[in-house]
Protein backbone atom coordinates (compact mmCIF):
# COMPACT_ATOMS: atom_id res chain seq x y z
CA UNK A 1 0.00 0.00 0.00
CA UNK A 2 2.72 2.41 1.03
CA UNK A 3 4.81 1.31 -1.92
CA UNK A 4 1.92 1.96 -4.29
CA UNK A 5 1.56 5.50 -2.93
CA UNK A 6 5.30 6.08 -3.23
CA UNK A 7 5.22 5.06 -6.88
CA UNK A 8 1.97 6.84 -7.67
CA UNK A 9 2.85 10.38 -6.58
CA UNK A 10 5.98 11.06 -8.70
CA UNK A 11 4.58 8.90 -11.51
CA UNK A 12 1.34 10.86 -11.68
CA UNK A 13 3.20 14.19 -11.46
CA UNK A 14 5.43 13.35 -14.43
CA UNK A 15 2.53 11.94 -16.46
CA UNK A 16 0.48 15.08 -15.91
CA UNK A 17 3.24 17.66 -16.35
CA UNK A 18 5.64 15.98 -18.75
CA UNK A 19 3.97 13.35 -20.90
CA UNK A 20 0.50 14.88 -21.31
CA UNK A 21 1.90 18.33 -22.28
CA UNK A 22 4.00 16.64 -24.89
CA UNK A 23 1.01 14.78 -26.31
CA UNK A 24 -0.77 18.13 -26.50
CA UNK A 25 2.13 19.53 -28.57
CA UNK A 26 1.87 16.54 -30.87
CA UNK A 27 -1.88 17.04 -31.23
CA UNK A 28 -1.63 20.77 -31.92
CA UNK A 29 1.10 20.16 -34.51
CA UNK A 30 -1.55 18.17 -36.43
CA UNK A 31 -4.18 20.93 -36.12
CA UNK A 32 -4.86 23.98 -38.28
CA UNK A 33 -4.20 27.60 -37.41
CA UNK A 34 -7.39 29.52 -36.71
CA UNK A 35 -8.38 32.99 -35.63
CA UNK A 36 -9.80 31.89 -32.31
CA UNK A 37 -8.90 31.39 -28.68
CA UNK A 38 -6.98 29.08 -28.50
CA UNK A 39 -5.72 29.88 -32.00
CA UNK A 40 -6.10 26.45 -33.61
CA UNK A 41 -8.78 23.93 -34.67
CA UNK A 42 -10.11 21.38 -33.98
CA UNK A 43 -10.56 21.41 -30.23
CA UNK A 44 -11.62 18.20 -28.61
CA UNK A 45 -15.29 18.38 -27.63
CA UNK A 46 -16.10 15.53 -25.29
CA UNK A 47 -19.65 16.86 -24.90
CA UNK A 48 -20.56 15.33 -28.26
CA UNK A 49 -19.49 11.89 -27.12
CA UNK A 50 -18.11 9.40 -29.62
CA UNK A 51 -19.13 11.49 -32.64
CA UNK A 52 -17.13 14.44 -31.24
CA UNK A 53 -14.00 12.28 -30.92
CA UNK A 54 -14.43 10.96 -34.47
CA UNK A 55 -14.84 14.46 -35.91
CA UNK A 56 -11.80 15.52 -33.98
CA UNK A 57 -9.63 12.74 -35.43
CA UNK A 58 -10.91 13.39 -38.93
CA UNK A 59 -9.67 16.98 -38.85
CA UNK A 60 -6.08 16.21 -37.82
CA UNK A 61 -3.59 16.16 -40.69
CA UNK A 62 0.07 16.58 -41.55
CA UNK A 63 -0.45 19.96 -43.20
CA UNK A 64 1.96 21.80 -40.86
CA UNK A 65 4.71 19.31 -41.53
CA UNK A 66 4.17 19.72 -45.28
CA UNK A 67 4.38 23.46 -44.72
CA UNK A 68 7.72 23.01 -42.90
CA UNK A 69 9.19 21.12 -45.85
CA UNK A 70 7.87 23.62 -48.41
CA UNK A 71 9.28 26.72 -46.70
CA UNK A 72 13.05 27.16 -47.06
CA UNK A 73 13.34 28.87 -43.68
CA UNK A 74 12.69 25.76 -41.63
CA UNK A 75 14.95 23.17 -43.18
CA UNK A 76 17.67 25.78 -43.48
CA UNK A 77 17.24 26.48 -39.75
CA UNK A 78 17.51 22.76 -38.91
CA UNK A 79 20.62 22.35 -41.06
CA UNK A 80 22.23 25.48 -39.71
CA UNK A 81 21.50 24.42 -36.09
CA UNK A 82 23.12 21.07 -36.82
CA UNK A 83 26.13 22.77 -38.38
CA UNK A 84 26.54 25.22 -35.50
CA UNK A 85 26.11 22.44 -32.91
CA UNK A 86 28.68 20.17 -34.63
CA UNK A 87 31.30 22.89 -35.12
CA UNK A 88 30.95 24.20 -31.57
CA UNK A 89 31.13 20.68 -30.12
CA UNK A 90 34.44 20.12 -31.95
CA UNK A 91 35.75 23.51 -30.79
CA UNK A 92 34.72 22.76 -27.20
CA UNK A 93 36.56 19.44 -27.38
CA UNK A 94 39.70 21.15 -28.69
CA UNK A 95 39.59 23.73 -25.90
CA UNK A 96 38.42 21.35 -23.16
CA UNK A 97 40.73 18.37 -23.69
CA UNK A 98 44.01 20.19 -22.89
CA UNK A 99 42.43 21.66 -19.76
CA UNK A 100 41.17 18.24 -18.56
CA UNK A 101 44.58 16.76 -19.42
CA UNK A 102 46.36 19.48 -17.45
CA UNK A 103 44.06 18.89 -14.48
CA UNK A 104 44.74 15.14 -14.55
CA UNK A 105 48.49 15.79 -14.49
CA UNK A 106 48.33 18.38 -11.74
CA UNK A 107 49.60 17.52 -8.24
CA UNK A 108 47.01 15.74 -6.07
CA UNK A 109 46.52 18.59 -3.63
CA UNK A 110 45.63 21.03 -6.45
CA UNK A 111 42.88 18.89 -7.89
CA UNK A 112 39.96 19.71 -5.56
CA UNK A 113 40.58 23.42 -6.16
CA UNK A 114 40.84 22.95 -9.92
CA UNK A 115 37.62 20.92 -9.87
CA UNK A 116 35.87 23.66 -7.94
CA UNK A 117 37.13 26.27 -10.42
CA UNK A 118 35.62 24.27 -13.30
CA UNK A 119 32.29 23.73 -11.54
CA UNK A 120 31.89 27.28 -10.18
CA UNK A 121 30.86 28.88 -13.54
CA UNK A 122 28.20 26.18 -13.88
CA UNK A 123 26.47 27.51 -10.77
CA UNK A 124 26.51 31.12 -11.96
CA UNK A 125 23.70 32.37 -14.12
CA UNK A 126 23.83 31.14 -17.70
CA UNK A 127 22.29 34.39 -18.92
CA UNK A 128 24.97 36.47 -17.20
CA UNK A 129 27.78 34.34 -18.63
CA UNK A 130 26.42 34.83 -22.15
CA UNK A 131 25.81 38.52 -21.50
CA UNK A 132 29.42 39.03 -20.32
CA UNK A 133 30.59 38.38 -23.90
CA UNK A 134 28.44 41.16 -25.37
CA UNK A 135 30.70 43.81 -23.87
CA UNK A 136 33.84 41.98 -24.98
CA UNK A 137 32.89 41.28 -28.58
CA UNK A 138 31.03 44.42 -29.64
CA UNK A 139 32.72 46.69 -32.19
CA UNK A 140 33.77 49.22 -29.49
CA UNK A 141 34.21 46.36 -27.00
CA UNK A 142 37.18 45.35 -24.85
CA UNK A 143 38.62 42.89 -27.37
CA UNK A 144 38.69 45.43 -30.19
CA UNK A 145 40.08 48.08 -27.83
CA UNK A 146 42.86 45.68 -26.86
CA UNK A 147 43.71 44.62 -30.40
CA UNK A 148 43.69 48.20 -31.67
CA UNK A 149 45.72 49.35 -28.69
CA UNK A 150 48.35 46.75 -29.52
CA UNK A 151 48.28 47.92 -33.13
CA UNK A 152 47.30 44.48 -34.43
CA UNK A 153 44.29 45.79 -36.31
CA UNK A 154 43.44 49.24 -37.62
CA UNK A 155 39.66 48.95 -37.85
CA UNK A 156 37.43 47.16 -35.31
CA UNK A 157 36.48 43.57 -36.13
CA UNK A 158 32.81 42.70 -36.37
CA UNK A 159 32.36 39.67 -34.12
CA UNK A 160 29.19 40.35 -32.13
CA UNK A 161 26.04 39.42 -34.08
CA UNK A 162 27.83 36.87 -36.25
CA UNK A 163 28.07 33.08 -36.09
CA UNK A 164 31.60 33.37 -34.63
CA UNK A 165 30.15 35.01 -31.54
CA UNK A 166 27.67 32.11 -31.24
CA UNK A 167 30.56 29.60 -31.39
CA UNK A 168 32.44 31.51 -28.69
CA UNK A 169 29.30 31.66 -26.55
CA UNK A 170 28.60 27.92 -26.82
CA UNK A 171 32.23 26.93 -26.14
CA UNK A 172 32.32 29.24 -23.14
CA UNK A 173 29.05 28.18 -21.51
CA UNK A 174 29.32 24.43 -22.14
CA UNK A 175 33.06 24.01 -21.47
CA UNK A 176 32.58 22.50 -17.97
CA UNK A 177 30.35 19.76 -19.47
CA UNK A 178 33.23 18.78 -21.75
CA UNK A 179 36.02 19.04 -19.17
CA UNK A 180 34.41 17.01 -16.36
CA UNK A 181 33.77 13.66 -18.14
CA UNK A 182 37.16 13.77 -19.90
CA UNK A 183 38.91 14.61 -16.63
CA UNK A 184 37.22 11.73 -14.81
CA UNK A 185 38.32 9.34 -17.58
CA UNK A 186 41.91 10.66 -17.55
CA UNK A 187 42.13 10.61 -13.78
CA UNK A 188 41.46 6.86 -13.68
CA UNK A 189 44.05 6.20 -16.36
CA UNK A 190 46.84 3.94 -15.16
CA UNK A 191 50.06 5.96 -15.58
CA UNK A 192 52.19 2.79 -15.79
CA UNK A 193 50.64 2.10 -19.20
CA UNK A 194 52.26 5.28 -20.49
CA UNK A 195 55.60 4.30 -18.98
CA UNK A 196 55.31 0.91 -20.66
CA UNK A 197 54.60 2.57 -24.01
CA UNK A 198 57.61 4.84 -23.63
CA UNK A 199 59.83 1.93 -22.55
CA UNK A 200 58.76 0.12 -25.67
CA UNK A 201 60.06 3.00 -27.76
CA UNK A 202 57.07 5.30 -28.26
CA UNK A 203 57.72 9.02 -28.26
CA UNK A 204 55.72 11.00 -25.70
CA UNK A 205 53.37 12.17 -28.43
CA UNK A 206 52.85 8.68 -29.91
CA UNK A 207 52.24 7.32 -26.41
CA UNK A 208 49.65 10.05 -25.86
CA UNK A 209 47.98 9.29 -29.18
CA UNK A 210 48.03 5.49 -28.85
CA UNK A 211 47.36 5.12 -25.11
CA UNK A 212 45.84 8.21 -23.50
CA UNK A 213 43.37 9.20 -26.23
CA UNK A 214 41.82 5.71 -26.73
CA UNK A 215 41.53 5.20 -22.96
CA UNK A 216 39.73 8.52 -22.53
CA UNK A 217 37.40 7.75 -25.44
CA UNK A 218 34.31 7.30 -23.26
CA UNK A 219 34.90 10.64 -21.57
CA UNK A 220 35.29 12.32 -24.96
CA UNK A 221 32.07 10.75 -26.26
CA UNK A 222 30.11 11.69 -23.12
CA UNK A 223 31.45 15.25 -23.21
CA UNK A 224 30.60 15.68 -26.89
CA UNK A 225 27.00 14.56 -26.37
CA UNK A 226 26.62 16.76 -23.30
CA UNK A 227 27.60 19.76 -25.44
CA UNK A 228 25.94 18.77 -28.72
CA UNK A 229 22.45 17.93 -27.38
CA UNK A 230 21.74 21.21 -25.57
CA UNK A 231 23.56 23.29 -28.22
CA UNK A 232 21.19 22.03 -30.93
CA UNK A 233 18.11 23.50 -29.28
CA UNK A 234 19.89 26.57 -27.88
CA UNK A 235 17.89 29.80 -27.79
CA UNK A 236 19.62 32.33 -25.51
CA UNK A 237 23.08 32.28 -27.15
CA UNK A 238 21.98 32.81 -30.79
CA UNK A 239 19.51 35.49 -29.68
CA UNK A 240 22.02 37.54 -27.69
CA UNK A 241 25.28 36.95 -29.57
CA UNK A 242 24.10 35.93 -33.03
CA UNK A 243 22.92 38.25 -35.76
CA UNK A 244 19.90 38.35 -38.01
CA UNK A 245 21.53 35.80 -40.33
CA UNK A 246 22.15 33.31 -37.50
CA UNK A 247 19.46 30.69 -37.97
CA UNK A 248 18.89 28.30 -35.10
CA UNK A 249 15.80 26.23 -34.61
CA UNK A 250 15.27 27.19 -30.96
CA UNK A 251 15.10 30.83 -32.01
CA UNK A 252 12.74 30.04 -34.91
CA UNK A 253 10.40 28.17 -32.54
CA UNK A 254 10.39 31.06 -30.08
CA UNK A 255 9.64 33.62 -32.80
CA UNK A 256 6.98 31.44 -34.40
CA UNK A 257 5.24 31.22 -31.06
CA UNK A 258 5.67 34.66 -29.52
CA UNK A 259 5.91 36.90 -32.60
CA UNK A 260 3.79 35.14 -35.22
CA UNK A 261 1.50 33.44 -32.70
CA UNK A 262 1.36 30.41 -35.00
CA UNK A 263 0.95 27.64 -32.42
CA UNK A 264 0.46 24.70 -34.80
CA UNK A 265 3.63 25.51 -36.77
CA UNK A 266 5.62 26.11 -33.55
CA UNK A 267 4.43 22.71 -32.29
CA UNK A 268 5.41 21.01 -35.55
CA UNK A 269 8.88 22.63 -35.31
CA UNK A 270 9.17 21.23 -31.75
CA UNK A 271 8.12 17.72 -32.80
CA UNK A 272 10.75 17.57 -35.57
CA UNK A 273 13.47 18.99 -33.30
CA UNK A 274 12.71 16.21 -30.84
CA UNK A 275 12.81 13.56 -33.57
CA UNK A 276 16.29 14.83 -34.56
CA UNK A 277 17.43 14.77 -30.92
CA UNK A 278 16.24 11.23 -30.22
CA UNK A 279 19.16 9.68 -32.13
CA UNK A 280 21.99 11.37 -30.18
CA UNK A 281 20.09 10.88 -26.90
CA UNK A 282 19.80 7.11 -27.47
CA UNK A 283 23.47 6.90 -28.50
CA UNK A 284 24.44 8.83 -25.38
CA UNK A 285 22.39 6.55 -23.10
CA UNK A 286 24.01 3.51 -24.68
CA UNK A 287 27.49 4.94 -24.13
CA UNK A 288 26.69 5.63 -20.47
CA UNK A 289 25.33 2.12 -19.99
CA UNK A 290 28.43 0.56 -21.57
CA UNK A 291 30.55 2.68 -19.25
CA UNK A 292 28.59 1.51 -16.18
CA UNK A 293 28.92 -2.14 -17.22
CA UNK A 294 32.68 -1.72 -17.65
CA UNK A 295 32.95 -0.16 -14.20
CA UNK A 296 30.72 -2.74 -12.56
Amino acid sequence: MRRAALIFVPYFWLLALFLVPFLIVLKISLSDTALAIPPYTPTLDLGNGWQGIKDFWAELDLENFEFLTSDDLYWKAYLSSLKIAVISTILTLLVGYPIAYGMANAPDHWRPTLMMLVILPFWTSFLIRVYSWMGILSSEGYLNQLLMGLGLISAPLTILNTNSAVYIGIVYTYLPFMILPIYSALERLDASLLEAAEDLGCSRFTAFWLVTVPLSKNGIIAGCFLVFIPALGEFVIPSLLGGSQTLMIGKVLWEEFFNNRDWPVASAVAVILLLILIIPIILFQRNEQKQREMDG
Binding site: I24, G135, G233, S267, L273
Partner: protein, 271 residues
Protein backbone atom coordinates in the same frame (compact mmCIF):
# COMPACT_ATOMS: atom_id res chain seq x y z
CA UNK B 1 54.47 9.20 -13.92
CA UNK B 2 52.18 12.18 -13.61
CA UNK B 3 54.09 15.34 -14.27
CA UNK B 4 53.03 18.86 -14.98
CA UNK B 5 54.73 19.87 -18.20
CA UNK B 6 54.92 23.40 -19.59
CA UNK B 7 52.17 22.33 -21.97
CA UNK B 8 49.87 21.40 -19.07
CA UNK B 9 50.59 24.62 -17.23
CA UNK B 10 49.89 26.71 -20.32
CA UNK B 11 46.64 24.84 -21.01
CA UNK B 12 45.47 25.34 -17.41
CA UNK B 13 46.43 29.02 -17.33
CA UNK B 14 44.80 29.85 -20.67
CA UNK B 15 41.79 27.67 -19.91
CA UNK B 16 41.02 29.25 -16.57
CA UNK B 17 41.71 32.72 -17.96
CA UNK B 18 39.11 32.00 -20.65
CA UNK B 19 36.61 30.81 -18.03
CA UNK B 20 37.10 33.68 -15.62
CA UNK B 21 38.22 36.80 -17.54
CA UNK B 22 34.78 37.63 -18.98
CA UNK B 23 33.24 37.57 -15.51
CA UNK B 24 36.16 39.51 -14.06
CA UNK B 25 35.79 42.24 -16.68
CA UNK B 26 32.05 42.39 -15.93
CA UNK B 27 32.78 42.85 -12.22
CA UNK B 28 35.41 45.55 -12.79
CA UNK B 29 33.24 47.54 -15.17
CA UNK B 30 30.27 47.41 -12.78
CA UNK B 31 32.24 49.98 -10.73
CA UNK B 32 32.64 52.26 -13.74
CA UNK B 33 31.45 55.84 -13.34
CA UNK B 34 30.52 56.27 -17.00
CA UNK B 35 27.18 55.40 -18.57
CA UNK B 36 29.19 54.19 -21.58
CA UNK B 37 30.07 50.71 -20.41
CA UNK B 38 33.17 50.20 -22.53
CA UNK B 39 34.90 53.44 -21.53
CA UNK B 40 36.51 53.61 -18.09
CA UNK B 41 35.78 56.93 -16.33
CA UNK B 42 36.75 56.33 -12.72
CA UNK B 43 35.57 54.28 -9.75
CA UNK B 44 32.00 54.61 -8.55
CA UNK B 45 29.34 52.53 -6.84
CA UNK B 46 26.48 54.61 -8.21
CA UNK B 47 25.05 51.78 -10.35
CA UNK B 48 24.54 49.69 -7.22
CA UNK B 49 22.64 52.59 -5.70
CA UNK B 50 20.45 52.93 -8.79
CA UNK B 51 19.83 49.19 -8.79
CA UNK B 52 18.53 49.32 -5.22
CA UNK B 53 16.16 52.13 -6.23
CA UNK B 54 14.80 50.16 -9.17
CA UNK B 55 11.40 48.83 -8.05
CA UNK B 56 10.95 46.61 -11.11
CA UNK B 57 14.21 44.73 -10.48
CA UNK B 58 13.53 44.36 -6.78
CA UNK B 59 10.04 42.96 -7.25
CA UNK B 60 11.28 40.58 -9.98
CA UNK B 61 14.02 39.41 -7.62
CA UNK B 62 11.42 38.75 -4.93
CA UNK B 63 9.24 36.71 -7.34
CA UNK B 64 12.28 34.71 -8.46
CA UNK B 65 13.32 33.93 -4.90
CA UNK B 66 9.80 32.83 -3.95
CA UNK B 67 9.52 30.58 -7.00
CA UNK B 68 12.97 29.10 -6.39
CA UNK B 69 12.40 28.28 -2.70
CA UNK B 70 8.96 26.73 -3.22
CA UNK B 71 9.75 24.81 -6.40
CA UNK B 72 13.07 23.43 -5.17
CA UNK B 73 11.46 22.21 -1.95
CA UNK B 74 8.67 20.40 -3.83
CA UNK B 75 11.20 19.12 -6.35
CA UNK B 76 13.36 17.69 -3.56
CA UNK B 77 10.45 15.77 -2.01
CA UNK B 78 9.16 14.47 -5.36
CA UNK B 79 12.67 13.83 -6.69
CA UNK B 80 13.69 11.83 -3.63
CA UNK B 81 10.52 9.77 -3.97
CA UNK B 82 11.34 9.29 -7.65
CA UNK B 83 14.86 8.11 -6.76
CA UNK B 84 13.46 5.61 -4.22
CA UNK B 85 11.12 4.27 -6.89
CA UNK B 86 13.94 4.07 -9.46
CA UNK B 87 16.41 2.26 -7.21
CA UNK B 88 14.11 0.19 -4.99
CA UNK B 89 10.72 0.18 -6.67
CA UNK B 90 11.28 -3.31 -8.01
CA UNK B 91 9.09 -4.30 -10.94
CA UNK B 92 5.86 -2.48 -11.59
CA UNK B 93 3.78 -1.66 -14.59
CA UNK B 94 5.26 1.12 -16.69
CA UNK B 95 8.68 1.11 -15.05
CA UNK B 96 10.46 1.82 -18.33
CA UNK B 97 8.14 4.73 -19.00
CA UNK B 98 8.84 6.06 -15.51
CA UNK B 99 12.62 6.02 -15.84
CA UNK B 100 12.25 7.50 -19.32
CA UNK B 101 10.22 10.38 -17.88
CA UNK B 102 12.88 10.95 -15.21
CA UNK B 103 15.78 11.12 -17.69
CA UNK B 104 14.09 12.79 -20.67
CA UNK B 105 13.61 16.27 -19.16
CA UNK B 106 17.38 16.44 -18.49
CA UNK B 107 18.12 16.52 -22.22
CA UNK B 108 14.91 18.12 -23.47
CA UNK B 109 15.51 21.53 -25.09
CA UNK B 110 14.03 24.21 -22.84
CA UNK B 111 11.99 25.70 -25.67
CA UNK B 112 10.10 22.40 -26.02
CA UNK B 113 9.50 21.95 -22.28
CA UNK B 114 8.29 25.55 -22.05
CA UNK B 115 6.03 25.32 -25.07
CA UNK B 116 4.44 22.04 -24.00
CA UNK B 117 3.72 23.23 -20.44
CA UNK B 118 2.24 26.47 -21.71
CA UNK B 119 -0.07 24.58 -24.05
CA UNK B 120 -1.13 22.36 -21.14
CA UNK B 121 -1.89 25.32 -18.86
CA UNK B 122 -3.91 27.01 -21.58
CA UNK B 123 -5.65 23.73 -22.43
CA UNK B 124 -6.92 23.23 -18.88
CA UNK B 125 -7.64 26.92 -18.43
CA UNK B 126 -5.17 27.57 -15.62
CA UNK B 127 -4.37 31.26 -15.09
CA UNK B 128 -0.68 31.80 -15.67
CA UNK B 129 1.43 33.43 -12.97
CA UNK B 130 3.72 32.52 -10.11
CA UNK B 131 1.83 29.25 -9.56
CA UNK B 132 2.39 27.95 -13.09
CA UNK B 133 6.11 28.84 -12.98
CA UNK B 134 6.38 26.86 -9.73
CA UNK B 135 4.68 23.85 -11.35
CA UNK B 136 7.01 24.03 -14.36
CA UNK B 137 10.19 24.44 -12.30
CA UNK B 138 9.21 21.65 -9.89
CA UNK B 139 8.72 19.29 -12.83
CA UNK B 140 12.10 19.72 -14.47
CA UNK B 141 14.11 20.10 -11.25
CA UNK B 142 12.65 16.97 -9.63
CA UNK B 143 14.32 14.93 -12.38
CA UNK B 144 17.74 16.41 -11.52
CA UNK B 145 17.11 15.68 -7.83
CA UNK B 146 16.14 12.08 -8.69
CA UNK B 147 19.37 11.53 -10.60
CA UNK B 148 21.53 12.99 -7.81
CA UNK B 149 19.77 11.09 -5.01
CA UNK B 150 19.56 7.78 -6.88
CA UNK B 151 23.32 7.77 -7.48
CA UNK B 152 23.73 7.91 -3.68
CA UNK B 153 21.03 5.29 -3.06
CA UNK B 154 22.70 2.79 -5.39
CA UNK B 155 25.76 2.61 -3.12
CA UNK B 156 23.61 2.44 0.03
CA UNK B 157 24.07 -0.66 2.19
CA UNK B 158 20.56 -2.03 2.71
CA UNK B 159 21.59 -4.29 5.60
CA UNK B 160 21.71 -1.16 7.80
CA UNK B 161 18.02 -0.65 7.20
CA UNK B 162 17.30 -4.34 7.76
CA UNK B 163 19.14 -4.15 11.08
CA UNK B 164 16.93 -1.22 12.13
CA UNK B 165 13.83 -3.22 11.17
CA UNK B 166 15.10 -6.24 13.13
CA UNK B 167 15.64 -4.01 16.14
CA UNK B 168 11.98 -3.05 16.08
CA UNK B 169 11.76 0.06 13.93
CA UNK B 170 8.71 0.55 11.74
CA UNK B 171 9.60 0.98 8.03
CA UNK B 172 8.88 4.71 8.33
CA UNK B 173 11.16 5.03 11.39
CA UNK B 174 13.88 3.04 9.65
CA UNK B 175 13.69 5.44 6.72
CA UNK B 176 13.75 8.52 8.93
CA UNK B 177 16.44 7.34 11.36
CA UNK B 178 18.76 5.33 9.06
CA UNK B 179 18.20 5.98 5.36
CA UNK B 180 17.55 9.69 5.41
CA UNK B 181 20.65 10.71 7.41
CA UNK B 182 22.82 8.67 5.05
CA UNK B 183 21.38 10.08 1.84
CA UNK B 184 21.05 13.59 3.35
CA UNK B 185 24.13 15.07 1.58
CA UNK B 186 22.69 14.00 -1.79
CA UNK B 187 19.26 15.36 -0.88
CA UNK B 188 20.79 18.69 0.13
CA UNK B 189 22.85 18.99 -3.03
CA UNK B 190 19.73 18.07 -4.97
CA UNK B 191 17.88 20.95 -3.32
CA UNK B 192 20.72 23.36 -4.09
CA UNK B 193 20.81 22.22 -7.70
CA UNK B 194 17.04 22.65 -8.04
CA UNK B 195 17.27 26.07 -6.41
CA UNK B 196 19.97 27.34 -8.80
CA UNK B 197 18.23 25.85 -11.84
CA UNK B 198 15.09 27.73 -10.89
CA UNK B 199 16.94 31.01 -10.21
CA UNK B 200 18.64 30.73 -13.57
CA UNK B 201 15.79 29.73 -15.82
CA UNK B 202 14.74 32.17 -18.52
CA UNK B 203 13.13 30.14 -21.28
CA UNK B 204 10.67 27.96 -19.36
CA UNK B 205 9.65 30.88 -17.12
CA UNK B 206 9.02 33.10 -20.16
CA UNK B 207 6.64 30.53 -21.62
CA UNK B 208 4.80 29.74 -18.40
CA UNK B 209 4.76 33.13 -16.62
CA UNK B 210 1.99 34.93 -18.45
CA UNK B 211 1.67 38.69 -18.27
CA UNK B 212 1.15 38.90 -14.50
CA UNK B 213 4.52 37.61 -13.24
CA UNK B 214 8.08 38.58 -14.17
CA UNK B 215 11.14 36.78 -12.87
CA UNK B 216 14.61 38.31 -12.59
CA UNK B 217 16.06 36.45 -15.61
CA UNK B 218 13.09 37.68 -17.69
CA UNK B 219 13.75 41.22 -16.51
CA UNK B 220 17.48 40.91 -17.27
CA UNK B 221 16.65 39.44 -20.66
CA UNK B 222 14.39 42.29 -21.76
CA UNK B 223 17.04 44.76 -20.66
CA UNK B 224 20.14 43.10 -22.21
CA UNK B 225 18.45 42.64 -25.57
CA UNK B 226 18.92 46.39 -25.94
CA UNK B 227 22.66 46.11 -25.21
CA UNK B 228 25.13 46.22 -22.34
CA UNK B 229 24.08 48.36 -19.37
CA UNK B 230 25.96 49.33 -16.20
CA UNK B 231 23.00 48.44 -13.99
CA UNK B 232 22.96 44.89 -15.32
CA UNK B 233 26.72 44.72 -14.69
CA UNK B 234 26.10 45.67 -11.05
CA UNK B 235 23.30 43.11 -10.73
CA UNK B 236 25.49 40.41 -12.31
CA UNK B 237 28.30 41.20 -9.89
CA UNK B 238 25.97 40.74 -6.91
CA UNK B 239 24.71 37.42 -8.29
CA UNK B 240 28.22 36.14 -9.08
CA UNK B 241 29.33 37.17 -5.57
CA UNK B 242 26.51 35.26 -3.87
CA UNK B 243 27.21 32.10 -5.87
CA UNK B 244 30.97 32.30 -5.30
CA UNK B 245 30.54 32.66 -1.53
CA UNK B 246 28.03 29.79 -1.50
CA UNK B 247 30.12 27.36 -3.53
CA UNK B 248 33.41 28.14 -1.80
CA UNK B 249 31.93 27.81 1.71
CA UNK B 250 30.14 24.59 0.74
CA UNK B 251 33.39 23.08 -0.51
CA UNK B 252 35.24 24.18 2.66
CA UNK B 253 32.55 22.54 4.79
CA UNK B 254 32.76 19.24 2.87
CA UNK B 255 36.55 19.35 3.01
CA UNK B 256 36.51 19.80 6.78
CA UNK B 257 33.89 17.06 7.17
CA UNK B 258 35.98 14.61 5.16
CA UNK B 259 39.11 15.53 7.15
CA UNK B 260 37.24 14.91 10.39
CA UNK B 261 35.96 11.59 9.10
CA UNK B 262 39.50 10.56 8.14
CA UNK B 263 40.75 11.50 11.62
CA UNK B 264 37.96 9.50 13.26
CA UNK B 265 38.69 6.48 11.11
CA UNK B 266 42.37 6.68 11.98
CA UNK B 267 41.51 6.94 15.69
CA UNK B 268 39.19 3.95 15.39
CA UNK B 269 41.92 1.85 13.77
CA UNK B 270 44.41 2.74 16.50
CA UNK B 271 41.99 2.06 19.37
Amino acid sequence: MRRLTWFNTTALTLGFAFLYLPMLILIIYSFNESKLVTVWAGFSTKWYGELLQNEAFLSAAWVTLKVAVISSTFATVLGTMGALVLVRGGRFMGRTLFSGMIYAPLVMPEVITGLSLLLLFIGIGLDRGVFTIVLAHTTFSMCYVSVVVSSRLVSFDRSLEEAALDLGCSPMQAFRLVTLPIIAPAVISGWLLAFTLSLDDLVIASFTAGPSATTLPMKIWSSVRLGVSPEINALSTIMIGIVAIGVISASLVTKRASLRQQAEERAAVQA
